[in-house]
C-alpha cells in the first residue's frame, strides 16, 4: 500500500470508527467505571509531563520574546505576546502533541497487544462490543481530560513565563499578570480551548484505529504505535491551521 492509499484508508477508517462510536453510544451499556479510569489514565497521569513541558515552554517563550523585543525597547509587550500565543496556539497544540506521544502511543500499544493476544476476539466471542468497552470510554475520557490538561498547561505556562519575566527581564509580576489578563479576551481563550476537543478526538480515534488494525503479531504493534503518533501529530497541526482559519473567517 503506498503512502497516499494509506492516508485515504486511515481517514476512511477513523471516520467509520467515529460513526461506530456515535451509533453505539445510543445503546446500553455504558462502562462508567472504565470511563472514569480513562480520565485518570489520560488526565491525572499526564499532569507531571504537561506541567514540566508547559513550564519550560512558558519560560522559553518569555525569554525569547523579552530578549528580542528588548533590542527595540519593547520588552514590556512580552506578556501580551505570551498570553496570546499561549492561549490561542501553544497551549492547545503543545499539550495535544505531548499527549499524542504519551497517551496515543500507550493506547495503540495496549489495544494492539490485546488484538495480538486475541483479547479483542475474546470480547467479541463473549458477546461484548470492543467499540463500547474499549473505544467509547477512551474517547469520552479523552474529551474530558484533554481540555482540562490544556487549561492547566496554559496557566502553568503563564505563571512560569511571569516568573522568568520577573527574574530575567525585570518585569513586575503584578504588571505581567495585569497585561496577560488585559490582553486576552474570552474569545482568544475559547479559540484555543475549542480546538482541544478536536485534538482529543484526533489522538484517541487515531490511537484506537491503529490499535484495532493490528493483525500480524508484536512487530506490527511497534509499527502501529509509531504510525499512531505520526498520524495524530500531523492531524493536530493540520487541524490547527484549518481551525484557526475557520476562527478568523468567523470573527
Amino acid at each position: 500500500m503506498n503512502g497516499f492509499t494509506q492516508v485515504i484508508h486511515f481517514l476512511g477508517g477513523i471516520a467509520l470508527l467515529f460513526r461506530d462510536i456515535v451509533l453505539e453510544l445510543k445503546t446500553k451499556p455504558f462502562y462508567f467505571k472504565i470511563f472514569l479510569k480513562q480520565i485518570y489514565e489520560i488526565g491525572w497521569k499526564s499532569l507531571p509531563i504537561i506541567f514540566v513541558t508547559s513550564a519550560c515552554a512558558g519560560m522559553v517563550l518569555t525569554l525569547q520574546f523579552g530578549l528580542t523585543l528588548e533590542k527595540f525597547g519593547g520588552k514590556i509587550y512580552s506578556p501580551k505576546i505570551l498570553s496570546l500565543s499561549i492561549f490561542r496556539e501553544f497551549g492547545p497544540v503543545f499539550t495535544s502533541l505531548i499527549l499524542a506521544g504519551r497517551v496515543g502511543a500507550g493506547m495503540t500499544a495496549e489495544i494492539g497487544a490485546m488484538k495480538v493476544t486475541q483479547q479483542i476476539d475474546a470480547l467479541l466471542a463473549l458477546g461484548t462490543s470492543p467499540i463500547k468497552r474499549i473505544v467509547i470510554p477512551r474517547y469520552l475520557g479523552g474529551l474530558v481530560a484533554v481540555p482540562i490538561l490544556c487549561l492547566f498547561s496554559c496557566f502553568v505556562s503563564i505563571i512560569f513565563g511571569a516568573l522568568i519575566g520577573y527574574f530575567e527581564l525585570n518585569l513586575d509580576l503584578f504588571y505581567f499578570f495585569y497585561k496577560v489578563f488585559e490582553t486576552s479576551k474570552l474569545h482568544d481563550f475559547f479559540s484555543g480551548y475549542i480546538k482541544t476537543y478536536f485534538f482529543s478526538s484526533f489522538i484517541i480515534l487515531t490511537a484506537c484505529y491503529f490499535g484495532l488494525k493490528v493483525s500480524q503479531g508484536t512487530y506490527e504493534v511497534g509499527n502501529a504505535t509509531t504510525k499512531s503518533v505520526v498520524f495524530s501529530s500531523v492531524l493536530i497541526v493540520l487541524g490547527d491551521y484549518l481551525l484557526t482559519k475557520c476562527y478568523w473567517m468567523m470573527v
Binding site: P29, Q118, A125, L126
Partner: protein, 251 residues
Amino acid sequence: MQSIVEVKNLYISFNEKKVLKGVSFSLEQGECLGLIGGSGEGKSTLLRSIIGLEHPSSGKILFEGENVTNLSEEEYISIRKKVSYVFQGGALFDSMTVYENLAFSLREHTDYSERKIREIVLYELKEFELEGCEDMYPVELSGGMQKRVGIARATISKPKVILYDEPTSGLDPYKKRNMQNTIMKLQKRGTTSMMVTHDMSTALRICDRIALLTGGKIKAIDTPKNFKESHNVLLNNFVKGIKQGENHESA
C-alpha cells in the same frame, strides 16, 4: 439427532488466498465433533466463522435453523451468548484477575447480584481445580491453568455449544488427560462441542465424530472407531504424519 449448527458450502478467502473451498457439515445436538487437519488448512478459521469472527465469501452457516452468515456485530451478540469459544492460548483478559475473567460474561449479560456471581464463579473455580487462583492475574498462571480458566470462562454462562481451538496443545500427558476429562465432564452436562485439534489421541478418546479438513474441504467425517479402521489414504497418511505425495519410506 437434530442439527444445532449447519455449515453449507462455505468459502472463505484472505486477500487472494482461498482457505475454505466449499465446506459442508452439520453439528448434531449433544455431540462432540472433532476437526482435524494439517496446519494452515483453515480449521481455526472454520471454527471462528461459526461465531462470526471471520466472514465467509459465500455459503451459509445456520444456527438452530436460522441463517447467521451475514449478521451485523450487534445481531451476533445473541448468537454469542449461546455459543462459547475457547481460544488456543486462553485469550484471558490480562488486566483482570481470574475471578474477574470468569465473572465477565455474567456481569455483562445477566442481572445476577454480585453475591450470586461470586457463588457461581467460586463453584466453577472448584470444578476446574482452580481454587485459590481467583485473585491471580493470567500472567501468574501456568499454560495449563490458563487453558482451564479459558474453558471455565467460556462455560460459566452455560452455552448450548462450545467451540474449542486446540484445547490440549502444549500440555503434558497428565494435564492433557485432565483436560480431556474436563471436556468429557462438560459433554455429560449436555453441551454440544466442536473441537479443532492436532492431537489424535484426544480426538479419538472424546469425540463422537471426527472430520478431516484438507485442501479447504472436509474430506472425511466419521466415528472414531471407523476412523481407526478406515482405509482412506488421506486419513491414514494424516494419522501417520505422512504428507500427501510422500511415500512411506521417505516418511
